[in-house]
C-alpha cells in the first residue's frame, strides 16, 4: 500500500463507523481499521446466528459500503510513525504480517475497556468481565442452564443480563454497587417525561424473569475448588452467599487512551482532551467516543459525525451537531456521578489477593509502594503482556497512583514488525 488515506479511522465501533461514513460521504478517501474480525465494536459485536445485529449498526455498515470506505478488520494498531517523506502512519499488525496505514487526518475511536477491581478469589476460573462474558457468549460459549451472577456497576450490567438471559442462562443475581437512590435520579434525567418509569420498568422485567437485583451491594469474595462455586454478596453490614457457575464482573469502563498518548495528544482527567470539532491537542488528529468521556453509543455516534465533518473541512455541518453532542456530554457527567465507585471497594483485596495477574503481584506487596513506578520496578507490577492495561486502572483506584505515558508498542507486536522499516522499504540510517 503506497497510498495515503485522506482520513484514517482507528476503531470500528459505533463512533468509528459514524466517523468513517460521514467523512467518506463528504468526499474523503477513508480507511477504517479495527482489531476485531468484524466491525461493530464491543457493543455491536456480531455473534452467532441467534443474535441479531442492531438495526443502527446495519445502517452504518450500508453507508460504509456505499461510500467505499476501505475496511480493515483483524488488524491491531501497535505503533505510530512517520515515513521517509514525512507522512505519518499507524502501524497495524494482523495474521498476514503488518501494514503501515498512512494518513492526512486521523480519527481515534479506540473506545473503552472494563475496570476490574481485585477481591479475594477474583482469579478463579468461571469469573469474567461482564462485557467479556457477553462477548464469550456471543462467540458461541453455551450458557444455557448455567447459574450466572452479574456484578459491578454501570449500564453494561443490564445489557449483559438481558443478553445472557435470552441466551438461556439462569441469572441468579445482579449486584450493582451504586445505591438505588442514585440510579433513580439518573433514571429521571433519562426519561424526564416519566420519572422513575425506566428503573421501575426494568425492575419489573427482571423480576418477571426470576432475577434478584441488589442495589448498593457488591461481591466481596469468590470461593471454589479449582473453579467458581460460591460468591459472598454484601452491602457492608449484611452478607449472604449464593452459588454460581459464572460471574461477570466489571466496574464500569476506563478509556483506551494509549494510542492517543503515544501520538502526543493531551489528556484531561484521564480522557483525551478535545476541541469542539473533536480535534485533539495534536493538529489533524481527532478523538471521539468513550476515549473522550464515557457516554455510550449515542455520544460516540454524534461525536463520530462531528469528527467526520471536521476532518472533511465541513465545519458548518459539524457545528450543526454541537447541540446534540453537548446534550450527550451532560449525560456523561450524570453517568459518572450515578456509578461512582464506593469507598468500600478499596478494602476488598486481602494481603494475598493478586492485583497484577500477569506477574502475580499481590496487594500485600503493592501496599508498601508509593507510586506506580516504584511498584513496577520493585515488584514487577504491570510489567507483563498487558503492560498495566488491566492492573493500572485498578491501582489508580486502590492506591491513587498514576501510570506514566505508555511506551511502544501499544499492544504486543512481533519483533519482526517492530524491526521493519516503513512499508515502502525505505531504510533509515
Amino acid at each position: 500500500m503506497s497510498g495515503v488515506y485522506d482520513c484514517l479511522v482507528i476503531g470500528a465501533g459505533p463512533g468509528g463507523l459514524a466517523a468513517a461514513a460521514t467523512a467518506a460521504e463528504a468526499g474523503l478517501q477513508v480507511g477504517l481499521e479495527d482489531d476485531n474480525p468484524a466491525a461493530g465494536g464491543q457493543i455491536w459485536r456480531r455473534g452467532n446466528a441467534a443474535v441479531s445485529v442492531s438495526h443502527s449498526a446495519e445502517q452504518w455498515m450500508e453507508r460504509i459500503r456505499s461510500a467505499k470506505v476501505d475496511v480493515l478488520c483483524g488488524w491491531r494498531a501497535t505503533d505510530a510513525g512517520t515515513d521517509a517523506l514525512g507522512t505519518p502512519f499507524i502501524r497495524v499488525e494482523g495474521l498476514g504480517g503488518f501494514r503501515d496505514l498512512r494518513y492526512r487526518k486521523l480519527i481515534l475511536a479506540t473506545g473503552a475497556r472494563e475496570l476490574f477491581l481485585p477481591f479475594p478469589g477474583w482469579t478463579l476460573p468461571g469469573i469474567y468481565g461482564a462485557g467479556g462474558l457477553q462477548a464469550f457468549a456471543k462467540s458461541g460459549f453455551d450458557v444455557r442452564g448455567m447459574r450466572v451472577v452479574l456484578a459491578g456497576t454501570g449500564p453494561l450490567l443490564m445489557a449483559v443480563t438481558a443478553h445472557l438471559h435470552e441466551a438461556g442462562a439462569k441469572i441468579v443475581a445482579v449486584v450493582e454497587q451504586a445505591p438505588l437512590s442514585r440510579l433513580m435520579s439518573l433514571g429521571m434525567h433519562l426519561a424526564p417525561s416519566a420519572p422513575g418509569k425506566l428503573m421501575e420498568g426494568l425492575r419489573y422485567r427482571l423480576r418477571t424473569m426470576g432475577t434478584k437485583y441488589y442495589f448498593g451491594h457488591w461481591v466481596s469474595e469468590a470461593r471454589g475448588d479449582g473453579k467458581l462455586e460460591r460468591l459472598t454478596i454484601t452491602n457492608g453490614s449484611e452478607s449472604f452467599a449464593v452459588e454460581a457457575d459464572l460471574l461477570g464482573v466489571g466496574y464500569h469502563l476506563v478509556p483506551n487512551t494509549e494510542l492517543a498518548q503515544l501520538l502526543g495528544c493531551g489528556l484531561e482527567n484521564g480522557f483525551v482532551r478535545v476541541e469542539e470539532t473533536q480535534e485533539t491537542s495534536c493538529t489533524s488528529i481527532y478523538c471521539i467516543g468513550e476515549a473522550t468521556g464515557i457516554g455510550g453509543v449515542d455520544k460516540a455516534q454524534v461525536e463520530g459525525r462531528i469528527a467526520g465533518f471536521s476532518a472533511a473541512g465541513r465545519i458548518e455541518k459539524a457545528r450543526s451537531l454541537f447541540a446534540a453532542r453537548d446534550k450527550q456530554l451532560r449525560f456523561v457527567e450524570r453517568l459518572a456521578a450515578a456509578f461512582a465507585l464506593r469507598e468500600e471497594l478499596r478494602g476488598l483485596a486481602q494481603e494475598n489477593t493478586l492485583v497484577c495477574r500477569c506477574e502475580d503481584v499481590p496487594h500485600g506487596a503493592l501496599r508498601e509502594c508509593h507510586s506506580w513506578r516504584e511498584a513496577k520496578l520493585h515488584t514487577r507490577c504491570g510489567m507483563g503482556p498487558c503492560q498495566g492495561r488491566i492492573c493500572g486502572p485498578a491501582t489508580q483506584f486502590l492506591y491513587g497512583w498514576h501510570a506514566p505515558a505508555p511506551r511502544p508498542p501499544v499492544f504486543p507486536a512481533s519483533v519482526g514488525t517492530i524491526a521493519a522499516v516503513d512499508e515502502a522499504g525505505v531504510h533509515h540510517e
Binding site: 520496578l377 520493585h378 503482556p385 511502544p408 508498542p409 504486543p412 519483533v415 519482526g416 524491526a419 533509515h428
Partner: protein, 382 residues
C-alpha cells in the same frame, strides 16, 4: 534512629552504584546518608540489562569487572529470589573464522588471568543455542558471568545499608553538591565529611566539569518464551561497536530472564539527550538480532524503552576523590558496566575513605587522571 548532625558520608544517587557504596560504607561502621530523587534503582539501573560480565578491553577494565564478578558470586547466595541472580554464562558468538581466531585469543588471555572459559565449535554452539542461525563459527563461553534484576538489587543493597544505620532519603532531588553539603530541592541540607556524586549520566549536571557524557541505549523485552535462549548471547563484534566513541551503533545482545522473557539489545548513541524511542535505531538493533536468531522475529515484544549510560572518555569509571573540592568524591561514569562493577565500586570507595588497602589497584579509576578539565574535554572529542 537518631541522625548525626554531620554524616561521615552522604551519597547523591540511589542507583545500584550509590546503593552499593552505601552498603559497603555502612558495613565499615560509617554513618551514611543515601539520597535518591525518584525510586531506588530507577535510573540507568532500571534501564540496563543486568548483565554481570567480565571484560577484557583493558587490564584495568578486566581487574574491576573480575573483582566485582567475584563479589557478585559471594553475594549471590544471600540475595533474595526476586533479585533473579542466575549464573547463565555469556556466549561471545563468533560469526566467522576471523572472529573465531579472536575467540581462541580471548580464551588464552582469560586463562592466563585465572578466569575459566571454554571455546565452542560451530556444532557445540548450535547444540548449546539451537535458535542461533546456522553457519556461525563458534563461541567463547564465560560460565561465571550472570544476569540479575538490577532495580531490586539496588533496593536490597540500600535496605541492607539502612539496617546497618544508613539514612535513606527517597524522593529528594539533590540541587547542589559541594563543600560537604547536599542541598536538596526543598532547601534542606544534608552535611557530611565526604559527599559522593553517584548520579550516573546526571553527574555532570550537578558537578560541572565531571567528564561524563550521556550515551543513550534502547532495549526491548518480549513475552515469556522459556528456554528460547539459555545464555547471555553477545556478538564478538560487540566490542567494535561498543568502544567506538563516535556515531550510533547497534550490536546483537540477547539475554534470557528468569521469567522466560528475552531482553534484546543493544544500541549506543551520543548526542541523543531525550528519552523517546528512536525507530530507526530500534529497527537496526532488532534486524541485527534477527540476523543472529531468525526466529526472534516471530516473538511478541511487549515493551521498548531507553536509558542513558554515563560514559567517560577512556571507558573507565570515575571512583575516588574529585580534585576541585576536598569533600567531594565521585562514583560514576560506569557506562554499560554499572551493574557489573557496582559492588567493586562500593568496596573501593569504602576502602579508600577508611584508609585501607584496596583489593585491586585503584589508580586507573581515580578522577585525578582527568585532573585537567581541558584534557578531559580534549579526550572526549571524537
Amino acid at each position: 534512629m537518631t541522625q548525626p548532625a554531620i554524616f561521615d558520608v552522604a551519597i547523591a544517587g540511589g542507583g545500584i552504584v550509590g546503593a552499593a557504596c552505601a552498603r559497603a560504607l555502612a558495613h565499615r561502621g560509617l554513618s551514611v546518608a543515601l539520597v535518591e530523587r525518584d525510586v531506588l534503582g530507577s535510573g540507568a539501573t532500571s534501564a540496563g540489562m543486568g548483565h554481570v560480565v567480565v571484560m577484557d578491553d583493558s587490564e584495568a577494565q578486566f581487574a574491576l569487572t573480575r573483582y566485582s564478578q567475584q563479589l557478585w558470586r559471594e553475594l549471590a547466595p544471600k540475595l533474595p529470589a526476586n533479585c533473579e541472580y542466575e549464573e547463565c554464562g555469556t556466549l561471545w558468538v563468533a560469526a566467522d573464522e576471523e572472529e573465531m581466531a579472536a575467540v581462541e585469543q580471548k580464551h588464552r588471555w582469560y586463562g592466563d588471568r585465572g578466569v575459566p572459559t571454554s571455546t565452542l565449535t560451530a556444532s557445540e554452539l548450535s547444540a548449546a543455542e539451537p535458535n542461533l542461525r546456522s553457519g556461525l563459527a563458534g563461541a567463547l563461553l564465560v560460565p561465571q558471568d550472570s544476569v540479575v534484576y538490577p532495580p531490586v538489587v539496588a533496593l536490597t543493597l540500600a535496605r541492607e545499608a539502612e539496617k546497618l544505620g544508613a539514612a535513606l532519603y527517597i524522593g529528594k532531588q539533590v540541587h547542589i553538591l559541594s563543600d560537604g553539603k547536599l542541598v536538596l530541592q526543598d532547601g534542606s541540607i544534608i552535611r557530611a565529611h565526604t559527599i559522593i556524586n553517584a548520579l550516573g549520566s546526571e553527574s555532570a549536571r550537578i558537578t560541572p566539569g565531571v567528564p561524563v557524557r550521556k550515551r543513550k541505549g534502547h532495549l526491548l523485552i518480549t513475552d515469556r518464551y522459556p528456554g528460547f535462549v539459555r545464555h547471555q548471547l553477545v556478538e564478538l563484534g560487540y566490542l567494535k561497536s561498543a568502544h567506538k566513541s563516535t556515531g550510533d551503533s547497534v550490536a546483537f545482545n540477547v539475554q534470557p530472564r528468569s521469567t522466560g522473557q528475552l531482553l534484546i539489545g543493544s544500541s549506543r548513541q551520543y548526542g541523543a539527550e531525550t528519552s523517546e524511542v528512536n525507530q530507526p535505531v530500534v529497527s537496526a538493533m532488532l534486524q541485527r538480532a534477527i540476523e543472529y536468531i531468525p526466529r526472534v522475529a516471530d516473538l511478541k515484544a511487549i515493551r521498548i524503552w531507553t536509558g542513558f549510560r554515563a560514559a567517560t572518555p577512556d571507558k573507565l569509571p570515575l571512583i575516588g576523590p574529585y580534585s576541585d573540592d576536598q569533600s567531594l568524591w565521585l562514583a560514576t561514569g560506569h557506562e554499560g558496566l554499572g551493574i557489573t562493577t557496582s559492588l567493586a565500586t562500593g568496596e573501593l570507595i569504602a576502602d579508600l575513605i577508611t584508609g585501607r588497602t584496596t583489593a585491586i589497584p585503584c589508580e586507573p579509576y581515580l578522577p585525578a587522571r582527568f585532573a585537567n578539565a581541558n584534557q578531559a574535554n580534549h579526550l572526549s572529542k571524537p
